[in-house]
Point group: C2
Chain length 170, copies 2
């Protein structure tokens, strides 16, 4: 892989604050293996990225989910910039949907299930709408067959929103 | 109100990165009115704070929720520091649970409902386990009667976890 396309998380927040936005190519997590087809890695520091929105997925997956974004993607959301600029990274975290032991009406995250990543590079990923996809379980990418399904679904359903399902939570 | 106890959000991330942690008293949102009893304000920049965990609340509230934390609170979660240090701030955002128009098994945030804030100051809030509470709708605090219910519920259910329901998502 020639380039590392994943933006660093906490660093990204500092860069946002300090006005350093515009650095597109920063570090992926060097420990993270690359997904097939796209070469996407788990981004460093994504656990500290700002929220785009939560979501819930019904059975059979039965998951709670949260989508977060790196500073480039978050700026695009806030300023309504479309399409997303190169360097935008979105990460969806997912957990099993579990009953809270502390409060009857509440459900909370159980075990982590998948982490799914979208990376915008309009040249490298020109054949898939400018997006590269990575789907990880326990830090390891799933197989190539699963990665072949990512863009087809996004293209079928949200091609008019730059292939991104998640809207910025109000 | 003598002191502003709310930590600034994006600034907080930068401070975390730059090693400036330890600044407890930073700015509340000067536009945010203060909650009754506790004087808690909506913190500046909380929309960019890192995720603690998502949650779901069943009917009748029927909400998706996300809990985020300022740098002091996030460090406590990561490093398993208990009780939470003074200056810790937790924010719970909530939205109506709505069917996604794009993907049948998914639910997404509808209208924002409440934003709820917990601020740790072991001296100022000594009579409520060290926590001050604020509950906001459309940026305005709800009434005193509602604020009187906050700590009683936390104390009844999670006094052994420093009165904090939400665990750090795995």
């Amino acid at each position: 892989m020639k380039r590392r396309l994943i933006a660093a998380g906490v660093f990204g927040s500092a860069a946002l604050t300090l006005g350093l936005i515009g650095v597109v190519e920063v570090r992926g997590d060097s420990r993270s293996p690359s997904a097939p087809i796209y070469g996407v890695q788990l981004p460093e520091g994504y656990r500290d990225w700002p929220l785009v929105a939560p979501a819930q997925e019904a059975a059979p997956l039965d998951e709670l989910r949260v989508i977060v974004g790196n500073p480039i993607a978050m700026r695009a959301y806030r300023d309504n910039i479309h399409p997303f600029p190169d360097g935008s990274v979105l990460v969806k975290r997912a957990w099993k949907h579990e009953q809270s032991p502390d409060f009857e009406p509440a459900s909370i995250p159980g075990a982590a299930t998948t982490v799914q990543v979208m990376v915008k590079d309009s040249k490298r990923y020109a054949s898939t709408g400018g997006w590269g996809y990575g789907r990880f379980i326990d830090g390891r990418p799933v197989d190539e067959a699963q990665h072949r399904t990512c863009h087809a679904c996004h293209a079928a359903r949200v091609s008019d929103r730059d292939y991104v399902f998640t809207r910025y939570a109000p």
